[in-house]
């Protein structure tokens, strides 16, 4: 009988998300932030919108962002008790922590502030496993890349090589989590994440003249992008990538590649936001909840970009080019 009481359609959760969506920053608030004269004014606007808590101050805006991320995951954990469902969103934090742990292990001092919370594995566990080289303590999908990346970093001191191995493993894990979730929307998100990452890698590799070996290491297989074709195109240059992309679902990337590097970087995130907009009108299922998580993560990313730009005194139009589209 208990099955009858489990809210399979997440009706309650989606209704709460609808209420929470009202508090997302819309385009006009983003414009206000972009037009603000300094970090203090941005923090003031954000506090008025209920961001951070009483301890938040302009001196440490990064804490305010971390607090917002925590608040979001608190709400999600309350609404969806099965924590593993949203692994697809949390995995990148794990791999980020893995990178941090590998780099920290070669340093003289400890830097506990570099780890991200709200991951699927406790950052302390990753830290310990890397420090003691007990890779077996890590989850199966992480063991091999962790060892390979750590050894590569120790032998060559090449931070980029270490990052490539981990980023590739992260993409593979995300793609796998998407498939396992059994949810159409989460699967689509995983596919888009991997495909847009592959395209980004190819464009950057073409610009910096990387070789085939690099591309084969970095690109992660997915359903909508044929990585062999993409590798060949990347070796020939940007034009070849554009002509390959025009045969795929990602034809709109071509225009952005030609516009500017910043516009292209923004394209990947905007692509996901655009594809998830239909979830605004969906009343049942995990889709709207997942879309909210993404919208919130994206919003925090945009605010971080604005705050960093304000700190460094960038002009408005430069910021505008980098800020992502909003969900609401």
């Amino acid at each position: 009988m208990t099955g009858a009481y489990i809210d399979k359609n997440y009706v309650y959760a989606v209704a709460r998300i609808r209420g929470a969506e009202l508090k997302l920053l819309n385009q006009s608030v983003m414009d206000q932030l972009i037009a603000a004269k300094d970090v203090a004014e941005c923090v003031q606007i954000l506090s008025e919108k209920g961001w951070g808590d009483e301890n938040s101050s302009a001196a440490a805006p990064e804490e305010m962002l971390a607090k917002e991320r925590e608040k979001m995951w608190e709400l999600i954990d309350e609404l969806v008790p099965e924590k593993t469902i949203f692994d697809v969103f949390r995995l990148s934090a794990d791999y980020n922590n893995l990178k941090a742990a590998i780099k920290e292990s070669t340093m003289e001092y400890d830097y506990p502030g570099i780890y991200i919370s709200e991951s699927t594995i406790d950052p302390e566990g990753i830290r310990k496993a890397i420090r003691e080289r007990s890779y077996g303590d890590l989850p199966d999908s992480m063991k091999e890349p962790a060892q390979a990346a750590h050894e590569a970093f120790l032998h060559t001191g090449d931070g980029q090589l270490c990052d490539i191995i981990i980023d590739r493993a992260c993409l593979e894990a995300v793609r796998e989590a998407g498939r396992k979730s059994g949810d159409e929307f989460l699967d689509m998100y995983a596919e888009l994440t991997v495909a847009s990452a592959d395209i980004k890698i190819a464009v950057r590799a073409a610009a910096t003249g990387k070789d085939r070996e690099f591309l084969q290491k970095a690109l992660c297989p997915c359903d909508t992008v044929e990585i062999n074709a993409l590798t060949n195109a990347a070796l020939q240059g940007e034009e070849a990538i554009c002509s390959y992309l025009s045969t795929t679902d990602y034809v709109d990337a071509v225009e952005e590649v030609k516009k500017s590097p910043a516009a292209f970087e923004r394209w990947g995130d905007n692509l996901v936001i655009r594809r998830m907009k239909p979830q605004l009108y969906n009343a049942f299922g995990l889709g709207p909840i997942a879309a909210y998580i993404l919208a919130r993560e994206n919003e925090i990313k945009s605010v971080r970009i604005i705050l960093l730009a304000k700190e460094n005194g960038f002009p408005e139009d430069v910021i505008r080019e980098r800020v992502r589209e909003t969900y609401v």
Partner: protein
């Protein structure tokens, strides 16, 4: 065996109240979950979402009405409860539109209410429009009610 007519008539009344009532319970239940979600975030929305939650409840009342009329007509609530098998089957058939129509329309209306509650949560000023969408589903419950009522009152004039 002589009471078989009465049995079928009673079965019709029972299905009408039971199925339409179950449909309403499912519909009001699912809309209630969505309403709770909205009120958790915005407590001042209570009165608006309450109206939307109650919309799928009407089918249960229609079902009860049909059951009540049938019980009165067949004399079970006082009078002579002796009706032929043919008449009993006719009453049974007359109750079916409300039983089936009530069950399915209440569930559909409940789902529509959930969506409308989401609409009100996002745009509280559009409450009037949000009411209209689930209210449309009501049309078909009313049509079922109408056919059931007309049939039940028509059976009295049937010669056997």
């Amino acid at each position: 065996m002589e009471n078989l007519g009465l049995f079928f008539a009673l079965l019709g009344a029972a299905l009408s109240a039971g199925l339409a009532g179950s449909g309403s319970a499912i519909g009001v239940g699912i809309a209630g979950r969505a309403a709770s979600g909205v009120v958790t975030q915005e407590p001042n929305m209570f009165s608006k979402v309450l109206v939307l939650q109650l919309l799928p409840g009407t089918q249960g009342i229609y079902g009860l009405l049909i059951a009540f009329i049938t019980l009165t007509q067949i004399g079970i609530m006082g009078g002579d409860p002796n009706i032929s098998l043919a008449k009993g089957l006719l009453y049974f058939a007359a109750c079916l539109p409300m039983a089936i129509g009530g069950l399915i329309s209440a569930i559909a209306q409940g789902q529509c209410s959930v969506a409308a509650i989401g609409l009100v949560a996002k745009r509280p000023d559009q409450f009037g429009k949000a009411m209209i969408f689930p209210a449309m589903v009501e049309t078909y419950a009313i049509l079922a009610l109408l056919v059931s009522i007309l049939s039940i009152f028509g059976i009295v004039n049937v010669p056997f």
